[in-house]
Amino acid sequence: MQLNILAWRSLSRNRRRTLITGFSIAFGIFLAVTFTGSGDYSYTSMIDTGAMMGQGHVSVAAAGYNARPALSRWLPDPGPAMEAARGQAGVSGVYPRIMGQGMFAAGARNVGAVFLAVDPAREHAGHNFFVRSIVEGELFAEGDGRGAVIGAGMAEKLNLRPGKKVILTVTDRDGQLTSELFRVSGIFRTGDRAADSGFVLLPLDRVRRTLGYGSGGVTFVAVYLDDQRSANGVARELTRGLVSRQDVEVLTWRETQPDLSGLIAVDRLFNYLLQLLVGMIIAAGILNTMLMSVLERRRELGIMMALGMTPAQIVRLVLIESFWLGCLGVAMGIVLTAPWFHYMSQTGIDLSRLIGEEYSAGGVLVDPVMKMRLYRESGAAILAAVFMLTLAAAVYPAFRAGGIMPVDVIKEK
């Protein structure tokens, strides 16, 4: 039967109402894409930035490290972990690193800071926020040299410039106090006050020697992924391959940056609730439209039933009308949203005037440019939600239509 034709004709009969309802669906899609798109973008950028601050999307450390980080918890042989990580699909970088806390002194002043020891031969600016943010001098070249890259805040506090000396005092693997001399090779400025005044990059081999880690020891192996969403999968694989052989733990960014993880979870929840609310309001509009259209057509629907359409077919007819209304809304939504989304994914809106250059959340620097990206599954979820809401909103009107008794309405005019 030509239910589709009937549905289309009915929708085009009251063109204005159909277009208004279609537009409300389109507007809902616009909002959903905006909320979800900026969420997908900002969460990803926060997670990626967080990973670039040291520990990667996934890391392999000595068992117990995450609960109580200390230089005495170290991994003497990172080889198997690095090899296993390199063998995973979607891994874009694997770095052996040492991370710890120490005291940095120059002249009469000193300051406590976190240091990250890296191998300059491997390090890549795309995976290291501090290397990327160097504003003066450069990254030290030798792994066993004495170069150090410090934050601009610390440089100011200790009155340091490239070429100046700074002394690190730490407790080594055995808990003994020990000192090492470094020479500033570069200064970075991230924009985050805490990082700029309390973070130092040091050469890996030199720090190994200082701490007594032997030739290969590290705190963890940091693993970077093309797509942060595969963190759990990669961590699962690494756990399976490594934990039985070595006394290690495999951590994702969620565990190494619980503040960030919690912040994103809460933000995402509010985001969903807001979208749900918008969805409900739009669904109420669709329900109203469909119900009006059914009540206006009581006689016509009754005649069709008298002629032999079953109640089930009438129910289906109304649901099909609603489905096409949803399709119309999606088409209008695409027309409405595509240029906006294109602009927001390419250019974005610079909010630095509003929130200032420096803005960090969950210990991670936030990009002041608001942009969007939409994961394929987010797009699919929005589409699925639109059709589910559209059909759900039509269920009651459809059953009202199916419940019409032809005898009652044929008399009506």
Partner: protein, 231 residues
């Protein structure tokens, strides 16, 4: 009890409650309609004509008694089964505004065949033949609101007969059109009755229409007042 009996009402009553008052729209009625009849239900307003047509047409159920069509007791059927039964065995022509407003004359005439899933080429052949028969072949693309009342009724008749139902029920099919259009409609029904043996049962209170009927079933207060064959 020949097998040419199409409709049989046995002790049928249809009682409505209007507030506390019981209205016997049809009161203990026995009636049979045979194949090929061209019968008219007549009687004053409120005598039960529409109620009887609705009962026979499986749109309404009797308060008591049985209505059977081609030997089947209608009260035994579910709502869905009744729909399919109407689709396959009954043709309807209502007093006015019969047509689905969003469909063209052609699509309206095709409606029942499409519900029956008759293949498109056969559907087209049959629909065009009937539209030709009712003189509406030149108006196939018109929407109902682009047709006169008489033309709408002719399309409704085409729709009612195209599926070759056991009986065509028409409730005052000429009440809303002028005399000329009424004559055309009656000519049409008569011709379909005579040439194709199609069974018609229609209601009217128009003397001119009654004169054309082959059988007059006179009602009063839901009861049979007279039942006469006319030459």
């Amino acid at each position: 009890m020949g097998d040419d009996m199409i409709v049989r009402l046995a002790g049928v009553s249809r009682v409505y409650m209007q507030g506390n008052i019981e209205v016997r729209a049809v009161d203990n009625l026995d009636l049979t309609i045979r194949k090929g009849e061209f019968s008219a239900l007549c009687g004053p307003s409120g005598s039960g004509k529409t109620t009887i047509l609705n009962l026979i047409g499986a749109l309404d159920a009797p308060t008591s008694g049985t209505v059977s069509l081609e030997g089947r007791n209608l009260s035994a059927l579910s709502r869905g089964e009744l729909s399919r039964f109407r689709r396959d065995r009954i043709g309807f022509v209502f007093q006015a505004y019969n047509l689905v407003p969003v469909l063209t004359a052609y699509e309206n005439a095709e409606f029942v065949l499409a519900l029956q899933n008759v293949p498109a080429p056969e559907r087209r052949k049959r629909v065009m033949a009937v539209l030709e028969e009712v003189g509406m072949a030149g108006y196939i693309d018109r929407r109902p609101d682009e047709l006169s009342g008489g033309q709408q009724q002719r399309v409704a008749i085409a729709r009612a007969v195209v599926s070759e139902p056991a009986i065509v029920l028409a409730d005052e099919p000429t009440a809303n059109v002028d005399t000329e259009a009424a004559d055309t409609i009656l000519d049409l029904m008569e011709r379909l009755n005579r040439n194709k043996g199609m069974t018609f049962l229609f209601s009217t209170h128009d003397q001119r229409v009654m004169r054309r009927a082959g059988r007059l079933i006179r009602l009063r207060d839901g009861r049979l007042e007279a039942d006469e064959a006319v030459q």
